[in-house]
Assembly symmetry: C2
Homo-oligomer: 402 residues x 2
């Protein structure tokens, strides 16, 4: 399907080749900023030493890591010492769940140990209890499920509201148990872009939590999809942990975990990626306007529009209604648009529509036709026009084939 973008965002169209491909799958991965590639290459050349060594290539590596830690911390309103670098978001999320389980068992020691031992002998469960949502990324869902399967934790999967597409605060509260030690709800969904009420959840849980003793309830949000698109301030949200994923905001494939250090009391509010974020607002809503104008209200379903819910400004999850217009089919027929039907990591699941959309109450036939179009700071309004035209032609072509 004539894709020839290299780099995909800057190649000019040529009259003799296929049309310029237009990348709109920024929620899957962003291209790296040329400046970032330059910095990484420079570090590989001059800062290759072991950061704990005392000679120059090691000192350079240490300095770069320290500086990066400060930058990442500032980005999410934390302090350098709050940031733990990881190999990616999966490791960061996994770290949270394992920490929570261990924290639970440690808190059972001492005064509580005897009671726990009694429960064990009586056959009653004193396992740690986790609360997640039913639209979490696999790195959260599978981690929690695996710990449940192995008997190391109990997990409650709170369903998002089919009205708002959000995890509702009261549903989280209703899921609380005496052994609840971790609540992990993503900040924004990667397919619908719906923003979850993390701050409200944290406030409600904290107010309940103070009436209990052990274990303290830890609060985590995977902010992979939110950073660089909306304001993310870990301290304002009130979370204990927040997952950061580089390749979602023009950085390399690396992760970090914000861990709210004890005794931390001075919040910071600057946003490193504020510029890109505001520019993305316009292509996102312009795309929706154009789709409505071209296809008409009857043929377009926005799968991220839920009453009362905010969504990411760059994410347009849309279905073009009609027979033979399944998402994968549309994308493979499009001449320009590079997008996906959902989270890229699940692309091997064949023709089933996204379980995320189904969980949000999107009807099966609509979800089957879903396209997740996510724009980035390299996207122009002209790109949007070309993509909408591309979709129009594709829909016509596929309908003629039916």
């Amino acid at each position: 399907t004539g894709l020839n973008p290299d780099p995909p965002l800057s190649k000019a169209p040529s009259p003799h080749t296929a049309p310029r491909a237009i990348y709109m799958d920024y929620n899957a991965t962003t291209p790296l900023e040329p400046e970032v590639v330059e910095v990484v290459s420079e570090a590989l050349r001059g800062a290759w030493g072991n950061p704990s060594s005392s000679y120059l290539p090691g000192v350079k590596a240490r300095n770069i890591i320290n500086k990066s830690r400060e930058n990442v911390a500032r980005m999410v309103g934390g302090r350098a010492e709050d940031i733990v670098f990881t190999s990616g978001g999966t490791e960061a999320n996994s770290l949270v769940f394992h920490t929570a389980a261990k924290h639970f068992w440690e808190s059972q020691r001492g005064a509580e140990r005897e009671r726990a031992e009694n429960c064990r002998q009586n056959g009653t469960s004193v396992r740690p209890h986790f609360i997640i949502s039913n639209v979490e990324h696999d790195s959260v869902r599978l981690t929690a499920e695996n710990m449940q399967t192995e008997g190391r934790a109990d997990v409650t999967c709170v369903a998002v509201s089919k009205v708002t597409g959000r995890v509702e605060v009261e549903d989280v509260v209703a899921a609380l148990r005496p052994a609840t030690c971790l609540i992990s709800i993503m900040m924004a969904n990667n397919e619908t872009g719906v923003i979850m009420p993390i701050k409200e959840i944290c406030q409600r849980v904290r107010s309940i939590s103070t009436q209990r003793h052990v274990p303290r309830i830890l609060l985590h949000t995977d902010a992979a999809q939110a950073i660089g698109k909306v304001r993310v301030d870990a301290r304002d949200l009130g979370v204990d942990y927040l997952t950061i994923v580089g390749h979602k905001f023009y950085a390399p494939r690396i992760g970090a975990l914000f861990v709210n250090g004890p005794g931390n009391s001075t919040p910071l509010y600057p946003m490193l990626f504020g510029g890109g974020q505001e520019r993305n607002f316009r292509p996102g809503s312009y795309l929706e306007d154009r789709l409505l104008a071209v296809f008409g209200k009857e043929r377009i379903r926005f799968n991220s529009h839920f009453p009362g819910s905010e969504t990411l400004p760059n994410t347009c999850n849309v279905s073009i209604i009609g027979p033979g217009l399944q998402g994968r089919r549309v994308l493979s027929t499009c001449r320009r648009l590079l997008a996906s039907v959902g989270a890229a990591c699940h692309s091997d699941r064949g023709d089933r529509p996204s379980h995320i959309l189904l969980s949000c109450g999107v009807p099966f036939e609509v979800a089957s036709n879903a396209l997740r179009i996510s724009v980035g700071r390299g996207t122009s309004l002209k790109d949007v026009d070309l993509v909408v035209e591309d979709l129009r032609e594709t829909a016509r072509k596929l309908e003629e084939m039916n």
Copy 2:
């Protein structure tokens, strides 16, 4: 200490500045090959997509990963499907221990489950048992110790022979128990360079293992220090797992684990880094010759010389005997030599000599003066001469101060 190497291996000496620093800590980290930096930068520019996506930047990423997997497999005599990429050696090693424990519990299921349950009720232990050596890298030692502390495994730490510096086959055999499910012995020690008899251990254990039923004993070697220096062929060694660490052989900080796939029967023997390896032979032994010539036999102790043991050709662990010549003091006084007193990850342990050397039977006073000098393929004989002269001047200076 006038260090000005940028890149540290190619800067010409200037009459107006400090002498050119000479890097000889290749066992800690190797610099990246310029060609590798180029390939990485190119991939960051053009292959930034999600490898499971169908558009070009994703396809490119997938192709690069597949090609790399084949190259890494060929390097250790395996097949592409035997290679699992990890964030580093620590993750690879950790993966082995967790796999072994899980494999043990799975094997207890079914026919064995009832027996296990009886044991648990009787209070007798049916925990998985691991065998490691007392000179393993921390990523093995601490992983095993942590699992023991948490009651998830029993660990036997086999001491290396103070005669040979090696883990002796019979000592491993003597440590075997009915519940032994993993033996993890490094291929070559990172401080002494002593090569362990992995092939012999595997053969002996396999011959014993066939007389037992469950669990099968898994064999692992951390080959981080061996690859690129001596021939490493996982299938010839007979291991189930073999840890590979990129930044020990001029590649980026990434790890991989060789896992001997079931039904694998066609061994492959090429060596990707053969060229570098032979060139390193000469600077290594030349360094020892020069040290002996300059300091004399009475003042030099080679801490990796054990009768009957082979060592890595690039590693010279040496103590200059005399008061005030502690390793850290010598290194901080040297004007050219960049090396370490042991594994870089332990550099924060203050003035204690290496526990690895003490475990190998090196006397405390000798171990206190130890320098781990490890040469690489960028090291010239001229570099060796300059470093030996540097050490001679440093020793004189420090002795005058005493």
